[in-house]
Amino acid sequence: MAYTIPVENMSGKVQEMTLGTAGRAVAVGGGTTLPFHTFEGVKSHRPVIAIEIQDVPPADWPDEVRAQYDAVSGDAVTWAKHCQDTLKADAIALRLTGTHPDRENRSVEDAVATIKAVLDAIEVPLIILGSNHVEKDSKVLVAAAEAASGRNCVIGKAQEANYKTIVAAALAHNHKLIAMSELDINLAKQLNILITQMGFDTARVLTDPMCSALGYGLEYTYSVMERIRLAALAQNDATMQPPIIGDVGMYVWKIKEVSAAEADVPAWGALAERGVAWESVTATALSMAGANMLIMRHPKAVDAVRKTLDELC
């Protein structure tokens, strides 16, 4: 008897969106199947890898990843061009870490100047991220949206506590928006609903269900992403259909496994490969769970994930 492939036809789809402008625009999401299932429908666009840069030198990054950028990270424009031209990034994620009151506490005007200079220097899509300080972000990101007007950027992250001002700014200047909630599918859904109630089209939202590093809660992020994707496809739940974003680098490059010297923990093996593997395995696992876009830091991890996606897509 011939074998029949057990196909599950899903009724829903993942929202498809375009980031950036003109020749360097990038498509994200789309598709009607679970990740990489080409046998039962239309697959999503290949997950997009955005390489992360900051508005201030990354003094707080562990040596293994910081040293990769020592020659260029003194200024955001040089760093951005390096990522676009040398590392061939699909997109660039500019994190405005320096605006955090506990860090350099850079002003809104300084942040705007950085954004404008970076946008002048690059053609690939830009993702503009706040410093994850709820009050400061609502000021910085509003100004950022205006400064980046016309470039079809992604602005983030809007959280329950500050989404209103950020949504309004993204709406006014025609950007895409990252909606972030904390590791709970119901909170993710609720935030997407609140955002659409403001007249913001879900087709322009990216869901960030909160990332975790391998070994530090990855199983929670993995399952929340998988459940969001199933709700979007199997239950055709429109509020769960935005593409999913995984902010991988930030969560990976602060744990012990990416900075402990081999001399201190011989059982863990070589540090140079360990850090890269941690970021690349985390990113690979999340792309299996449904992430459509990944924000990453280490060039070698980006390279390994690209080669893996070559096989997967």
């Binding site: 057990p6 299932h37 506990d102 391998l214 863990w268 540090l271 096989e311």
Partner: protein
């Protein structure tokens, strides 16, 4: 296929005799359907009914043990497609593939010394696979013996498509019960004979699922029961697709021929890419993940991923109750307390580490609940914290009798000061990400 409670009920004596321990036959039937009872508890059921039920209650994916003794790895017996539905049961085996032309003894020693302790679990490369590449039977047998000698507790896989060579190697290490891997359409009958003769697991390799089903039929006809499937994925996408199709067919369509553990060949030239392809196989249903190199950094990443994927989604991961030292704290260093939910511990410990202020972090057993949940459930109360602090030995070495409690349970500070005379209670930040600033400003 699994039977419903009502279908099972029809096969029972319907006497409601209670000898099975349940009040009625229907109640017993319902428990059987949920696999929470065994049919042998009923003394009066007919042999025919037992046989029917036995077949229906067999797990949809056969459970098979690879290796011997307490290091043996159980494979199969999975029940779900997604880990949030129910725990993935038997963590996959990571196996190192080595050619018989390579330095097998050295690679086997790598496998034997691969054990790492992570969150209280001992994790290791479970198996070594010896690939027949030399073309010389004597060299293969010597390589297999070298693997067996140098990895005395590891499972052994004979990756060999020549039945005569495999037979000789299997005989040479018969006591180790190796798995035989390499049966395809050209040699399955001879390989099945070898597997049957030595009582070994047989790994079948085919190009696609339909060809695999045909091989399973031939292996079963030859009397082989313990089978592992390799659907011949040529890239990562095929690993995802073929493994998904096999598991779906076994679980949802009751396809018996596919109800066996699956092997994923993840061997790649670039070791970093190999780690990623192995991650794909770990996430997507492989029971044996074959790699070509087991560097310690790669092992740690893959063991950790396997632990994450196979964690019970209903039981929170816990860390042991103790006072953890972060950096090299002096007797006067800050002392914080939190609960033993692993995620809570990891996040708090990570932020304390970020602060670069040497500290002590007391982790109290709250059955794996996070701070607010544990407080609400009455497990992280002033009474219980006071009891922990006054009775646990490690608090004695603390000179500075000040306890920093999570900001979310600030409400406990008054009661704690009453119950812990001589201690100063300080309320810390509400969120862990406030710790670096909090600790640095205190140190300044």
């Amino acid at each position: 296929m699994a039977m419903s409670g009502v279908e099972i009920f029809k096969l029972l004596p319907k006497t409601n005799c209670k000898k099975c321990g349940f009040p009625t036959c229907l109640a017993f039937a319902m428990k059987l359907a949920q696999r929470q009872a065994d049919i042998s508890a009923c003394p009066d059921v007919s042999e025919a009914a037992k046989a029917t039920l036995g077949e229906a209650s067999a797990p949809p994916i056969r459970g098979i043990k690879l290796g011997l003794g307490d290091k043996a790895a159980k494979m199969g017996e999975e029940n779900v497609m997604f880990r949030h539905e129910k725990k993935f049961v038997n963590p996959c085996v990571i196996a190192l593939n080595v050619a018989d032309t390579d330095d097998v003894a050295a690679r086997a020693k790598d496998v034997a010394s691969s054990e790492i302790d992570r969150v209280g679990q001992k994790l290791r490369v479970d198996a070594i696979s010896i690939e027949f590449k030399s073309g010389a039977a004597a060299q293969y047998e010597a390589a297999v013996k070298a693997a067996a000698d140098n990895a005395p507790e590891s499972a052994i896989i004979l990756n060999c498509a020549d039945a005569a060579v495999a037979d000789a190697a299997a005989k040479a290490i018969a006591a180790r019960k190796p798995m035989l891997y390499g049966a395809d359409a050209s040699n399955v009958d001879a390989m099945a004979t070898v597997a049957k003769a030595h009582g070994l697991i047989l790994g079948l390799k085919a190009d696609g699922i339909e060809a695999l089903i045909a091989l399973v039929a031939r292996a079963k006809a030859a009397g082989v029961e313990d089978i592992v499937l390799d659907p011949g994925a040529k890239n990562a996408r095929e690993i995802v697709e073929l493994n998904t199709q096999i598991r779906r067919s076994a679980l949802k369509k009751g396809e018996k021929a596919l109800g066996y553990p699956v092997l994923g060949n993840c061997v790649r030239e670039d070791s970093m890419v190999e780690a990623n392809i192995a991650a794909v196989a770990v996430a997507k249903y492989a029971s044996i993940v074959l790699v070509s190199a087991v560097e310690r950094w790669k092992n740690l990443a893959l063991f950790t991923l396997r632990q994450n994927i196979y964690t019970d989604p209903q039981v929170p991961m816990q860390v042991p109750q103790k006072v953890y030292k972060i950096g090299e704290p002096s007797a006067e260093a800050p002392l914080m307390i939190t609960t033993n939910f692993s995620l809570t511990y990891f996040i708090v410990a990570g932020e304390v580490e970020n602060s670069k202020v040497p500290s002590r972090l007391a982790v109290m057993d709250c059955e794996g609940l996070s701070v607010l949940t544990a407080w609400a459930a009455g497990k992280f109360t002033a009474n219980k914290i006071a009891q922990f602090v006054s009775e646990w030995e490690e608090f004695k070495e603390v000179a500075n009798k000040e306890l920093i409690i999570p900001g979310q349970v600030a409400i406990l500070s008054g009661a704690l000061e009453d119950k812990l005379p001589g201690w100063k209670i300080t309320v810390g930040p509400r969120e862990a990400n406030g710790l670096p600033v909090f600790l640095k400003s205190r140190a300044a």
